[in-house]
């Protein structure tokens, strides 16, 4: 069973990538779970025809009935779960992620599953946000970034979190912002932290279009080059066996890298 967690700067496109690779796995016939860990609970919408689903934590909170399945079936049978969490400004989202991940593991995850994808909000900011990285849960991490300074900076920070926790990084995914030399920049940065770039997703307006229609690109434009880019990424992740604990760099080195590729 492949258990992966997707991290990256807020707004970088983690959910789009997570949902599309989930779709790619599912169309191959793999038993795939998508676990959205954002309290906003909107990561799985493109797998569900634009529908927002009830959250796992709300379910835990309001009933003890665990006989009905916790997930909602999405595109090609992807099992979608949104952990949910507090509304903005109250409670502890981190604690929510911890409880949800533990409960899911205990109650639902079994050997019949091929892939579990945790779509985690933003950075590894506290123990709660790092929960999917604990032993038994995700065993490899992918960081989504672009060639822009701030997203590389965030990626570097996440690498620091992984180094602290001694968790393996599977590689970086470049979600293109159409920056000059972007592929080279991300590739080089990945190398600097001891990892590699595992996929490059070009910028394409059909992504936005599909999102507006509540579907993944794989569903909306299955024959597009964009859909193929997600499929390639999914394939690389599936085959990937180069996992290393990353070594973060001094953020100044990121600036140097960017200046060199201006």
């Amino acid at each position: 069973m492949k258990q992966i967690a997707i991290y990256g700067k807020g707004g970088i496109g983690k959910s789009t990538i997570s949902a599309n690779i989930a779709a790619a796995f599912a169309e191959k016939g793999l038993n795939t779970w998508y676990i959205g860990c954002d309290p906003k609970a909107d990561g799985s919408m493109t797998l569900l025809g634009g529908r927002k689903i009830g959250t796992f934590l709300e379910r835990l909170r309001s009933s003890t009935d665990t006989t009905e399945p916790a997930y909602v079936l999405g595109f090609k049978g992807v099992k979608c779960i949104e952990t949910g969490g507090p509304i903005a400004g109250v409670g502890c989202a981190g604690r929510g992620i911890i409880v949800a991940v533990q409960e899911l593991y205990k109650r639902y995850f079994n050997d019949d599953i091929d892939v579990i994808i945790y779509d985690v909000p933003g950075d590894v900011v506290c123990g709660g946000f790092a929960a999917p990285l604990r032993e038994k849960f995700a065993n490899e991490v992918y960081i989504v970034t672009s060639g822009e300074y701030l997203s590389l900076y965030a990626a570097n920070n996440i690498a620091r979190g992984l180094e602290n926790l001694k968790v393996n990084l599977g590689g970086l995914v470049c979600n293109s912002r159409d920056i000059k030399n972007e592929e080279r920049i991300v590739d080089k940065f990945a190398e600097m932290i001891g990892s590699g770039m595992i996929g490059f997703i070009p910028r394409n307006p059909i992504v936005r279009e599909c999102e507006n229609r509540g579907m993944t690109v794989i569903e909306g434009f299955p024959n597009s080059t964009q859909a193929n880019a997600y499929r390639r990424l999914a394939e690389s992740i599936l085959k990937n066996d180069t996992l290393v604990v990353p070594k973060p760099v001094d953020p100044e080195e990121i600036r140097v890298l960017l200046r060199e590729n201006e």
């Binding site: 909170r61 509304i87 109250v90 502890c92 929510g96």
Partner: protein, 361 residues
Amino acid sequence: MSDVLHPRPSPIIAAMYTLRDLDADVIVMHGPPGCGFTASRLLEEAGVTVITTGMQENDLIFGAENRLVEVLKRVDLEFSPRIVGVVGTCASMIIGENLEAAIKKAGIRSIVLPIDIHACSGPNTVGAIKVLEVAMSKGIIPREEFERQKEMLMRATALERERGMTSKPYLKPHRGVTKLKVARMILDALSQSKNVAVVLNAKKETAYRFADVMRAVEYARRRIGGSAVYVANVDPNIGLPRIRRYSADILRDLKDEGITIDFFSGGLDEYPVAGEKAAKYLEDKSIDLRIICGLPHAIPDLKKEDILVTDQPRELRNFIDSGFAYAVGEISTHSMLMGARGIVHSELGDTIRELVDGINK
């Protein structure tokens, strides 16, 4: 980072006690049901109603503001309190519960003091200072009183660091030496017409028990001779209302036994400085034997032949290990004093009385 390994009092509990001293009627603990449990029981004995919002895992995740609002409304209905303290716990503070907001939403008639505190906030005195600060902001105590109390509490923290329980990495509890040995020493001194000084340097309600040593010494002195000097930090004009009542109670009981205090070293919340004043007062009095009750480590230059009477087993360990052979323990003093309104018998006091009665027979 501090290397003190033994458990110490928590700022949460100190906050609860300070609320009691302000005569709060109800304390609402915003946290899991067990938080502050032991202290809550004791405080209830002292007449304060302690309530918990009983937070659970889900409340940690989603926040428990509604719970607090509901509990406050019920408290208002059931107890119509004048002053309510809402005390944070580790659980509520770590997830950032907004006590003020909940209090506003509840909109009850009482004066409600939100105390944002948890066990990780630092020394226990931090909790007490927090309560006093909020009380000042709500006009319950004047600024001068706040400043005075804060000064005392900071002195107390410093004293504990220098000579008290937080001066050692680990202290294994000790019960002190036997009362018999020490009682004999006192009676020997008196029967040789020596001058004995009893210093009460106690903290708040523990004075109800430590003051009994004065009564017992006076009892013995009247029967077998000698002279005695009494020094005590029971100035009834200093401190929060409840603390002044304690001093008044003690003075009344001492007066009933014909005892007058020779020197008032301060109020019952002033032990960190009262100890110094007491020692100074005794300096030129040619005292043969000093008996120091309450928090003896607050006396600057303790002598190895002083008799030290205290209640905390770790404090006793500290004394014994430092070579004070006459440190005796009035263990569990605190728990037996909740709700007391007069001097309570001490073990050392009773041992002295028993020996005196034996001698006289």
